[in-house]
Amino acid sequence: MSSVAFIVIAILTLAAALAAATLPKLIHAALCFALSFVGVAAFYFLLGAEFVGLVQIFVYVGAVAVLIVFTILLTRHDVEKDHGFNWSGVAVTLAVFAGLIWAVLKSGNLAPTAAPVAPLTVKQIGELLMTDYVWPLQCVGVLLTAALIGALVLVLEEKR
């Protein structure tokens, strides 16, 4: 695991995320959001979880980012107005960040180096999904169906 790749990916991810959180124009923020999730997927690749990285790119950059852009276009009239910024949120965020960093640094050296890892193949993941994780898989299927139907019902034209 190279530290240069880690630093580059970390800077890319956090800069894009910060831009997505602070840019006034929604459409720019949505594109920066997609970029930051490419960075998170790159972290997954760096950590040896290639399948999760691919899923991250397919689901977030492929589907969720497009969905967000469509929603922005459908609610267009409102986009140009900047809705303002709540500065008390910054204080809460800084407090949470300080608490998290304190907890991470105080916990000592948990695992100094990563042991060499045998790559987790898609075949293994598929076998696990069909054996040990078959109940969660079915539940997620039901949840996705319910969410899809619910989203459709929500955006259907109301009968007057």
């Binding site: 959180a21 969720v64 991470v104 640094l105 996705l144």
Partner: protein, 104 residues
């Protein structure tokens, strides 16, 4: 020097806090959804990092939890954005400060 677990935890904490900043500070409903997605991604990064740096041979629990979390986050995004569209149809705004009809 190779990055240790704590570097990943710090990046993940930073990503979580940026998501929290977006969810708390912005007044636009879509920004709040973007912030929630970022917080979920930070949680997934933590799961993968702990799986990678855990004792060997590790059961792939972290990977499986992250896959399911991504699926649930996608469902949440779909319903959330549908809600934004439905609210926009009713009130002609997506500013969450103006959606106070249920306020006593």
């Amino acid at each position: 020097m190779t990055p240790t677990l704590q570097f990943f935890l710090i990046v993940s904490a930073a990503l979580f806090c940026i998501g929290l900043l977006a969810a708390l500070s912005r007044r636009h409903a879509i920004f709040i959804l973007i912030g929630i997605e970022m917080m979920l991604a930070a949680a997934g990064l933590n799961f993968i990092a702990f799986w990678r740096f855990g004792p060997r041979p590790a059961p792939p629990t972290g990977v499986m939890v992250t896959i399911f979390a991504i699926a649930i986050a996608a469902a949440e995004a779909a319903v959330g954005l549908a809600l934004v569209i439905a609210v926009y149809r009713h009130y002609r705004t997506t500013n969450v400060d103006q959606l106070d009809h249920l306020k006593g």
